[in-house]
């Protein structure tokens, strides 16, 4: 046994200081493909046909080229609707697009408070029409309230944040994942990310938990146990949909055995698409929840200063 102690000491510190400084550990990791509708070709539907989870949909019958174009690309009588809440980062669109309208990126910090923020929207649209909404809703969400909360609940949530704002206890529930999301959640406690350093802990009992962190598309068989865990949590409580499966079902939702993630199952405070979201993306989302990091994505793209090229 003593040689393990010596060995441990000799190895030194392995933990990163990220996000305050240093390495996030995600060098090379591919994120959500970036979408540039200006490059779309008339009549092309290659990406939509290659996108298995239906993150790219073609809305038929819309006005021809150029007009009424606030939410997507309008080319050749159809426009694309891109929903990063369904994207599993498979890179198929990037490969099949003949004009690089979809390009590879390292944009993986995709946690958002409102589901709509995962739908691609023209940046100018964000600033104008849609933007007013986003701003107001963003502020609301920052106060920590999920949709439908009463004023008293909102206040209490805000208060809890003020007192415990720097710490968080999480109960994780696997509602039918492929184990990719679990693998990355487990990685949070390895010496590199060392989640404890941020005051964030996993707890075995929902009764001690502030956050219910759900992975998987929610199989019919796990829907009840999941809702029971939620009911067992003290209020105020938060819910995070971790991974594209939990956000929308992804490639695995629907069918005879699954629902579509948390849609219609539980109220969600934070959506974190990714397949799986990498450990740094999870840390970003957790810190976002306790307001120690800002949301980076609006209208399906990273806005403001980008920490990665």
């Amino acid at each position: 046994m003593p040689f393990w102690t010596r060995y441990g000491l000799k190895q030194g510190k392995a933990s990163t200081k990220w996000p305050s400084e240093g390495d996030d550990g995600q060098s090379g990791v591919l994120g959500m493909p970036r979408f540039d509708p200006a490059k779309c070709q008339s009549g092309c539907r290659e990406c939509a046909d290659a996108c298995l989870p239906g993150a790219i949909a073609i809305e038929e019958g819309d006005p021809i080229d150029g007009s009424a174009d606030s939410l997507g690309a309008s080319r050749g009588g159809a426009r694309l609707k891109v929903d990063y809440g369904r994207c599993v980062v498979c890179q198929m669109c990037v490969e099949v697009c003949p004009t690089e309208a979809f390009s590879p990126s390292n944009d993986w910090a995709f946690g958002v408070r409102r589901r709509e923020d995962l739908l691609w929207a023209r940046p100018s649209g964000v600033a104008a029409g849609v933007g007013a909404n986003v701003g107001a809703a963003g502020a609301r969400a920052d106060a920590g309230a999920g949709a439908g909360d009463s004023a008293a609940e909102k206040e209490l949530k805000g208060e809890i944040r003020r007192i415990f704002g720097r710490s968080l206890h999480i109960r994780h529930v696997d509602a039918g994942s492929c184990n990719g999301c679990e693998s990355e959640l487990q990685a949070l406690n390895n010496p590199f990310y060392n989640l404890h350093r941020l005051g964030i802990f996993f707890t075995p009992s929902p009764r001690f938990a502030d956050l219910l962190l759900v992975t998987g598309p929610v199989t019919h068989a796990l829907r009840n146990p999941l809702q029971e865990a939620y009911r067992a949590m003290p209020e105020p409580r938060f819910v995070m949909a971790l991974g594209t499966c939990a956000v929308s079902g992804g490639t695995n939702g629907g069918g005879y055995a699954c629902g579509n993630g948390l849609e219609g199952v539980l109220p969600v405070d934070l959506y974190v698409p990714g397949c799986p979201p990498n450990p740094a993306a999870i840390i970003h989302a957790l810190l976002m929840l306790v307001r120690r990091m800002p949301q980076r994505v609006r209208g399906g793209q990273i806005v403001g200063e980008s920490e990665r090229a």
């Binding site: 890179q91 696997d174 509602a175 184990n179 019919h220 009840n224 490639t251 990498n278």
Partner: protein, 524 residues
Amino acid sequence: MSPEQPPLRARQEAHATPIRDVPLRDLEQRCGAAVAAGARVQLAYAWFPETAGEPHVQGSGAEAAPPETIELRYVVHSSAGHPPEIWRCRPGTLPPPSLASIAPLVSWYEREITDLCGLSFQNQPQPEPLVLLPGARATRPPLRPGAAPPLSYAPEPSSLPEVAGSAHRDVQLLPFGPIRADVLESAQFTFFYIGEGILHYDPQLFFKHRGMEKRFEGIRPELGTVLAERVSAVGSVAHALAYSRALEAAAKCDVPPRAEWLRVLLAELERLYNHLHYFGHLCHTTTLKVGEAEGKYLEELAKQLNAEATGSRFLRSLVCPGGLRREPRLGGIAVRLAKIHREFARYAEMLETTTTHLDRLITTGVLGKQLAFDLGATGPIERASGVDRDPRRDQPYGVYRELPLRVATSDGCDAHARQQVRIAETLNSIELIQAALGGLPSGAIRAECPPAARGEGLGWAESPRGSVYYAVHLDSAGKLARVKIKSPSFSNWRVFPHTVHQSNMMDYAINEASFGLTVAGCAR
């Protein structure tokens, strides 16, 4: 190794797995004779072939195929060292005989066929549902072609074995799950125990059944890898590889040599990070804290290497039918790998000399050789029980034949043997990656692999946890009609409870960790 493209004619043999028609009345006798001669039934499944001129209508919901068109398939290995053969059996309207009493591992496959395809077997020794939980109802067998209505659940208490006899009041019952403590996959375990001793152990593993096989139905074959990689993330490469090889067999497509070499590289990188995780987790259960931290740290280094090389910490989105979708970045691998190698060699030596750790492993979770073989244990689990099988050597695929592959085995049969086999495999994986980097030929990485209408193929790969098989059938439009997935955890979960009965509670977590099981792969 020469950098020129080596002749790979040998791969042709993988193209056609021979299919033999077995009449229903001969099935038991044929199976009995094969098993007596040392054969192992690898997997069984059912599907509904298209009736001539009548393509399956996706989403029609109509009774597209009458039940009598159902076809049974058994994949059989006459012996290790031989490629498999397929038995095809058309039961018509007759209930086929169960083979479970001849080849026990077939039992789970039969119960799955009953649940999902609606075909019952005569004299099945355990006729209750396997995949469908108690209370689950399917109005129509989900794997019949066409739309499958959602399962309905009327939760009812599962029927657990009853304890009889004078001592039954002393027997405690501990249900655990389906939501378990810690960050773990969902599954429900019930322990029957007296004091420390476990009398009986009953795992319910199918809460996570997602209907993945159904999901392949009707999609274009080139998109299937996206699904295959999401059956069990920690086996993404093996799943995508077995799936792709099945399609390559159907299309009689030859993969370019460079792609075959890179596939070995990816498959061994997958083994590396999985095995490193395994040691960290095993140390967690034996409470060797520094050992746990070091194992998980090495796993993290390996995952970061994966991301650097492929853009994915799980090595996803590369393997495809016909080869690879894009070139990995090989530049930084050698240096990062050397660091992992150095640290792992020291780490493994310490694991093997720490008596407090070894004390907990030795004689824990004993799995005898015969049981391992009969119940279909696979991968490091069977090899640690003295069953010397490995598809990389016995049914060679890719370029393993040209690389310094060493199959590790042990006769120890316990948790320690399983650690030793995985240590040897980790070291060999590093060596294989280095050799693959050194011998990598230049050239194309993808060949055309046009879907063969009405074609079929069988593909396999040795994942870190054991063998993965994909059986693929295409319809007349070249779309996927049926995809059967045999995952290693489905095989090893079948075996695992037999090492728990008669053991003790204190050792349970160690024993489970020593198997390295996944629930997602098993439940699909």
